[in-house]
C-alpha cells in the first residue's frame, strides 16, 4: 500500500509560489528574495494591487520586460531586467534599506536552507568554514520586515528535513520567521513551534511528521 507521502502530489516551485501569492492581501508592500520567491510576483492576481519592493532601489517593480522593451538600467536585486509599474518609484540604497529597517514593508519572502521551530532562519551560508559567503540584503530584510515568510522545499535533495528544532547552518536572523510555505505544507511558527495550516491533498500529519525533524501539530482553526 502506498504511503500518504507517496500518494500525494508535492507542489512544484511554481506551485509553492502560487500558493503563497494567494495569501498576500491587496495593499501590502512586499519584498521578494532572489531566486524562487521572485516567482510569487507572477501569481498575484492582476486585479489585486500588491507593491513589490526590490532592495536595489525599486518600489513598484513590474514583470520581466517584453523582448525589445528592455530598459538596460533597470534590474532587480537578482540582477534580472525588470520593469517599473505605473506609480512606481526609485530610491537610493540607503533609503531603500530605511524602508526595510524602518518596518515599512508588510512582508518579505525569502528562500532558506533551514527554518527552526523558534523562527530562526539560515539562508546565506552553508558552513562556518565558508569565509566568503554572500549575505546581500538577507539579514536586513529578515530583521526589518514586519513579517517574514519562507518559501522552500520541505526537505533537501537527500531527504533531510529543512524544518528543524535548531538550525545547524549559520543564522541569518533569530526568531524572525512567521510562516513557511513548502512543497508539502503551509506552517505557522507559534510559541509552541510549527503548526500546520494546510497540506497538499492526500497528505496526512503523520506522513508529514515522518519527513520533518521538528515536531508538528495542526493549527487551531
Amino acid at each position: 500500500m502506498a504511503t500518504a507521502l507517496e500518494a500525494c502530489k508535492p507542489l512544484t516551485r511554481e506551485g509553492i509560489a502560487q500558493r503563497l501569492a494567494r495569501d498576500i492581501p491587496e495593499g501590502w508592500y512586499v519584498n521578494l528574495g532572489i531566486g524562487a520567491p521572485l516567482k510569487v510576483a507572477d501569481y498575484i492576481p492582476a486585479d489585486r494591487e500588491v507593491i513589490i519592493h526590490s532592495e536595489n532601489g525599486i518600489l513598484g517593480m513590474g514583470p520581466v520586460p517584453a523582448p525589445g522593451e528592455v530598459n538596460p538600467w533597470l534590474i532587480n536585486a537578482g540582477k534580472q531586467y525588470v520593469t517599473l509599474r505605473s506609480g512606481g518609484s526609485y530610491t537610493h540604497h540607503a533609503d531603500s534599506f530605511a524602508m526595510i529597517r524602518g518596518g515599512h514593508l508588510d512582508l518579505c519572502v525569502l528562500g532558506a536552507f533551514q527554518v527552526a521551530e523558534n523562527g530562526d532562519v539560515a539562508n546565506w551560508s552553508i558552513s562556518d568554514n565558508d569565509t566568503a559567503p554572500a549575505v546581500g540584503g538577507a539579514m536586513d530584510l529578515a530583521a526589518g520586515a514586519r513579517q517574514l515568510w519562507v518559501l522552500m522545499e520541505h526537505t533537501t535533495k537527500s531527504g533531510e528535513s529543512r524544518l528543524v528544532r535548531r538550525c545547524s547552518y549559520p543564522l541569518t536572523a533569530l526568531g524572525a520567521v512567521k510562516r513557511v510555505y513548502t512543497n508539502l505544507a503551509v506552517l505557522d511558527i507559534t510559541d509552541d513551534g510549527f503548526a500546520v495550516r494546510d497540506m497538499v491533498p492526500g497528505l496526512t500529519l503523520e506522513a508529514l511528521q515522518d519527513v520533518t525533524d521538528a515536531p508538528l501539530r495542526m493549527a487551531s482553526q
Partner: protein, 227 residues
C-alpha cells in the same frame, strides 16, 4: 565661476593616494562607473580598500583592479556572483582581505558618514556570525548591534546628467549606492552620460546636489552591456 567639469581622465583621477578607501557605486555593473575604474587603473594608486556591493565580474573594471593586485581589502555584501572569477582567484590565493557587511548596514554606514553621524544601532545581523566582535545593546526590549560610519577618501560615482556645479540625476535602478557614496567621501568624482547647462536640470529632480561633488567627467558610453 564654479566649474567642476574636468576635461581629462588624468584630471579626474589626480591626487588619489595609495592606501585610499574608495567607495565604488553600482549594483553589479548597473550604475558602476567603469570608465572611472579604468582611469584609476591607469592612475596607479595601490593598496586600496574598495567598498562596493559586489566584487566585480569578468575581467574588466573592478575585477581588473583586483587582478592587478591593487586592492588590499574589499568591503562588500555580495562578493560571490555569477562571473566573479577574479575575486575567487585572488581571495583563494590569500591576496585580499574581505569584510562582509549586510547590504543595508553597508549603505547606512555610508549614509551616516555623509550625515555626520559617527555610529548607530541596528537590529540587522544580531545573533549571527557577522555580529562577532560588535557591541550588542538592548533598547526598548530589542537587541541591536553597534555599527560605525564608513567614510571614503574617494567616491567614484556614475550619474545620468550633470551640470558644472556637480548637480546630478540618475537613471532608473542605476541610482543604487551612488547618491549615498557621493555624500560619504572627501573627494567625489563623477562620470556622467550627459552634461547639461547650469539651470537645465529641474531642481525638483536633482538627486545629488552639487555640494557633494568635486569633479565631473563626461563619459557618454551608451547603454550598459553587462548586468
Amino acid at each position: 565661476m564654479i566649474n567642476k567639469i574636468v576635461q581629462t581622465m588624468a584630471e579626474a583621477m589626480a591626487d588619489i593616494r595609495d592606501g585610499s578607501i574608495v567607495l565604488l557605486g553600482g549594483f553589479g555593473s548597473i550604475g558602476q562607473p567603469n570608465e572611472l575604474i579604468e582611469g584609476l587603473i591607469e592612475q596607479g594608486a595601490k593598496d586600496l580598500t574598495v567598498v562596493s556591493n559586489n566584487a566585480g565580474t569578468g575581467r574588466f573594471g573592478l575585477a581588473k583592479l583586483l587582478e592587478l593586485g591593487r586592492v588590499r581589502k574589499m568591503i562588500c555584501s555580495y562578493p560571490r556572483s555569477a562571473g566573479s572569477v577574479v575575486f575567487e582567484e585572488v581571495y583563494r590565493a590569500g591576496k585580499i582581505e574581505l569584510e562582509i557587511v549586510p547590504q543595508g548596514t553597508m549603505s547606512e554606514r555610508m549614509r551616516a558618514a555623509g550625515a555626520g553621524i559617527p555610529a548607530f544601532y541596528t537590529a540587522t545581523a544580531v545573533g549571527t556570525k557577522l555580529a562577532a566582535g560588535k557591541e550588542e545593546r538592548e533598547i526598548g526590549g530589542r537587541k541591536y548591534l553597534f555599527e560605525e560610519a564608513l567614510h571614503g577618501d574617494v567616491a567614484l560615482v556614475e550619474a545620468w546628467e550633470a551640470d558644472r556645479w556637480g548637480n546630478l540625476t540618475y537613471r532608473s535602478s542605476a541610482r543604487n549606492f551612488n547618491p549615498v557614496m557621493a555624500t560619504a567621501a572627501a573627494l567625489t568624482i563623477v562620470q556622467t552620460q550627459h552634461i547639461v547647462e547650469l539651470g537645465a536640470l529641474d531642481p525638483e529632480k536633482i538627486v545629488t546636489p552639487g555640494i557633494y561633488v568635486n569633479r565631473v567627467l563626461h563619459v557618454p558610453y551608451g547603454e550598459p552591456k553587462v548586468i
